[in-house]
């Protein structure tokens, strides 16, 4: 009986933890004299990956529902720019709402087109990626918009609560909420069912259209929140924010045990995947490798992760 053995999907889910440990040990040995293992460096990795982690959580829902989102990186910049612009005139809470709202709205547009017109999400979000990126450039005039409200910067950037950096707290809050929503609610179960077998979901009375709309809206809102965290951390918003995150986040999610084909995913896996990608960037920089090399190595990792995720075992 196959079920008596740990099944393939479970093993796939564990790969990320092994990979994480392996890369950690590798850099700890290779970079023992270059400050990789210092508390400051390790906590920097966590802080730097916070926005990507939030995006990864949104993407877990999208992939699990059998869709894909390529536009979240562009939405990050637009949301940050909208938030920063609004905060010049209004209270920061309105800027926060505007930023997340912008992300959710962009995601809802993706979702509406995918759910009702039944166009492939790959093409729809590829198109909206271009539109959103252009819009971010247009409304910001290619300029950086400074964020000066100190409360906002403390809550979403450099502040601490009980000595714990706020970005760590946001990551943990998102982890707990995301994991429960994904694993332990009817919504999460329906997301997986839709990605697994849309027809079965439909004849079981699951509102498939609504689920597709919801996951893409959620991904947009997560991207919007990631934009807020970027704006808080770098204290400005610019059209380049998030533009290099697309591949990193997709890699983090797939490495973290979420199937590209839908039906199965993991929020904690996405967190570890995201930390692993962040650690990789950090270590490669400390090793003195250029950005070009980092891009190539990350690309290779996506390739390997996709191969592991999609290849069927010989039966």
């Amino acid at each position: 009986m196959t079920a008596a053995l740990p099944n393939r999907a479970v093993l796939q889910g564990l790969i990320v933890y092994a990979g994480f440990v392996l890369i950690f040990v590798f850099f700890s040995v290779m970079l023992w004299d270059r400050g990789f293992l210092t508390t400051t460096n390790l906590s920097n990795i966590v802080l730097q990956t916070a926005p990507a982690t939030i995006m990864a959580f949104g993407l877990v829902f999208v992939l699990s529902a059998g869709e894909i989102d390529l536009s979240f990186g562009a939405i990050v910049a637009l949301a940050a720019i909208v938030a920063a612009t609004v905060m010049r005139e209004y209270h920061w809470s309105i800027g926060l709402a505007a930023g997340i709202g912008t992300g959710a709205l962009a995601g809802a547009v993706n979702g509406a087109i995918v759910a009702w017109a039944r166009l492939p999400s790959f093409l729809v979000t590829l198109a909206t990626m271009g539109i959103v990126a252009g819009l971010a450039r247009e409304i910001s005039n290619l300029q950086s918009i400074p964020v000066t409200q100190s409360t906002f910067i403390a809550i979403f950037g450099g502040g601490r609560l009980f000595g714990i950096p706020s970005l760590v707290l946001w990551t943990l809050a998102a982890l707990v909420i995301g994991h429960i929503a994904y694993r332990e609610t009817r919504f999460g179960a329906h997301v997986r069912a839709v990605g697994d077998n849309p027809r079965a979901a439909l004849v079981s009375g699951i509102r498939v259209t609504r689920i597709r709309l919801a996951v893409l809206t959620l991904s947009g809102a997560c991207a919007g929140f990631a934009g807020i965290l970027y704006a808080g951390r770098v204290q400005s918003a610019r059209y380049t924010l998030g533009e290099s995150d697309l591949m990193t986040v997709i890699a983090a999610v797939i490495v973290g045990g979420t199937l590209l084909t839908g039906g199965r995913g993991s929020i904690p896996g996405a967190l570890v995947g995201s930390l692993m990608m962040g650690m990789l960037s950090n270590g490669l920089i400390l090793m003195g490798l250029s950005v070009s090399w980092q891009m190539m190595i990350k690309g290779l990792i996506v390739l390997v992760a996709v191969a592991v995720s999609l290849r069927e075992p010989a039966r």
Partner: protein
Amino acid sequence: MTPVLSLRNIHKTFGGITAIEDFSLDLHAGEVVALVGDNGAGKSTLIKIISGVHPPTSGEILLDGEPASIPDASIARERGIEVVYQDLALADQQPVYMNLFLGREPVKGPLRLLDRRRMIAETESLIKELDVRIPSVRATIRDLSGGQRQGVAIARATHWATKLVLLDEPTAALGVAETARVEATITALKARNLAILIISHSLDQVFRLSDRICVLRRGQQIGVRDTAQTDKNEVIAMITGLT
């Protein structure tokens, strides 16, 4: 005794083409009726009419003697009618117990979290009652054999049906041993006092399982026979129209 389901003078046309012509049938609790006929005879259309996928063009549907309309599939489910589809409609990556409750998961507490313990317990007792032999209710569907999957699909229909289970070719893709297991499961359903309508191409199976046989040919109802009072030759003649 009032029939669980009565179909009276059902007609169904698709854009001028007649799929079902003047079909009438009563189904009683605890009885298995087989629907037989050649390809294109209208068997699947009839299943879709009863399950609310394609409402009839004219004619009457009565549930427990009351006139009823079944405008869509969710209404059929609410009225206690469940279908086991030819392609099973299971979510392959999910465990057995989640499939059993697909779309109808129980929740608990103020946060409305999934009540996994209840789902697992209910699935275990059902699987035991119907004697569906699977390694565990936590097993993932893709790790099960074809017969085990069919067992799960039938168990799901049974769990939710209060009146009627429709089975569309339940053993079409199965081997001999697995077919025997699924037939045993279907026989166990009768004990739950459900009405069962089964489509099958295997006359041997029809004679093993059914109490009555209803024959369709090109959308026309050729006749209904008590299984005990007919034989294969008569049924084949009715199906083909040749004597």
